[in-house]
């Protein structure tokens, strides 16, 4: 028969032992894979973007995203901040065909669109968006089957053969990057053209941009030009309050951009 003293002694030892084991395993798991020499990062210079949408076109054709469907792995947003402090934004067909006029069509109730007179525009600019390949991706955490995951070089991929199409990841992404692929009916997302960057090429959008508004680099290489900009210039990330540690950095990011 166990007495009270032994019960407390062994009980306490068991609790402490379990706790230590769990934390130590956690540390081992957390440090796993962090020693590799490549961690992809992205730099978007919003001051250079002209809203031509060539990046979106190239992305859709490169990654076989049905061209005439409104879903896209990447898109370009137009922001018009008015002198009264309000702003309107749009991204028709993900800006696949660029912004070729000053008509904002973001309201189904106004089929003719909205034209903001030039004297009411305080500032107006374009912001390219794509997957942030977060260091702590919430979309991966919620996947119930292990169909989406982070590679050792930091890119979040979707296993099309394993995805069950539950849509949790689409809800979990704070950046609205994920969508259902209209043909495969599984979760789809930007993967920074993993097939290109792993061959030493640039992503389709980076290559297609004539203005250098998009750049991809390796943040573990201190001599990488993109890393140098991120380390030495004023850059920002989207929605840092979510704690996702996004790895796409933005230059010239305005506070109206979400």
């Amino acid at each position: 028969m166990i007495d009270r003293r032994d019960f407390l002694k062994y009980g306490l030892a068991a609790i402490i032992g379990t706790g230590l084991a769990v934390t130590e395993t956690g540390k081992v798991i957390a440090s796993a894979g962090k020693s590799d020499s490549v961690r992809w990062t992205f730099l978007v210079d919003t001051t250079k973007c002209v809203g031509c949408g060539m990046c979106v076109r190239a992305c859709k054709l490169e990654n076989e995203i049905p061209y005439d469907v409104s879903v896209s792995r990447t898109w370009v947003e137009r922001y018009i901040v008015k002198t009264d402090g309000t702003f309107i934004a749009d991204s028709p067909m993900a800006a696949r065909d660029g912004f070729i006029d000053n008509v904002v069509r973001n309201d189904p109730d106004k089929p003719n669109g909205i034209i903001v007179p030039e004297n009411e525009i305080a500032k107006a600019f374009f912001v390219p968006k794509l997957c942030n390949q977060c260091d702590k991706p919430p979309c991966v955490q919620v996947c119930p089957v292990g169909a989406t995951y982070q590679t050792p070089d930091g890119v979040v991929l979707v296993d099309r053969t394993w995805c069950i199409g539950c849509g949790y990841c689409i809800m979990a992404c704070p950046y609205g990057v994920r969508f259902f692929h209209p043909i495969y009916h599984v979760a789809e997302k930007c993967n920074w053209c993993y097939h290109r960057i792993s061959k030493g090429m640039k992503t389709a959008c980076v290559q297609a941009c004539p203005f250098g508004a998009r750049e991809i680099g390796n943040i573990k290489d201190p001599n990488d030009p993109v890393t140098k900009v991120i380390m030495t210039e004023r850059v920002n990330v989207l929605k840092s309050e979510y704690g996702t540690n996004p790895m796409a950095y933005y230059r010239g990011l305005d506070s109206v951009v979400r």
Binding site: I29, A30, A32, G33, D36, T47, K48, C49, V50, G51, C52, G53, M54, R57, A58, L61, E62, N63, R78, I80, D97, G98, F99, I100, D101, N102, E118, I121, K123, A124, F125, F126, K136, P137, V140, Q141, G146, A147, T148, Y149, Q150, T151, P152, L157, D159, T161, W162, N191, Y194, H195, R196, S198, K199, M201, A204, Q207, A208, P210, F211, A213
Partner: protein, 154 residues
Amino acid sequence: MKNHAYRPLYVVIAVIVAILIARAIMVPKDFGIQKQGYMYGWHRLGNEQDWKDFKVKHRGREYCKDCHPDNYELNANSPHAIIQCEDCHGPAIDHPDNPPKLEINKARELCLRCHAKLPYKQSGRAWITGINNDEHNPGMECVTCHNPHSPVLN
């Protein structure tokens, strides 16, 4: 062991065994916790290679250089040298085998992507030569006057 009270137990054991057998058959051998740990790395390892093997379609302007040296050279010395051939002509893929012909798009909308004048001073559009689509030779193809490979008029 003739007690009928054990029968549900046999059913449960049979279901568990069936599930374990099904899992052993259906889950790929390379599925598991990979380098990124349980929270972010729980996946089928072979899928990384599946994505790496995805077909590259945009080959870059150097792919076009050897067969189209005239247009390549003309373009390289113009303000349009910053634009990739495939931006306007579409992805080369394995051209000329597949596809045998690439797109030649003479629509005004293609040029307007950059050259529509928009009053957005804080954007990159501000420093590009822009036109008003309704005033600058409306309805005419831009290529009537401008060579897209070297667009500046003498």
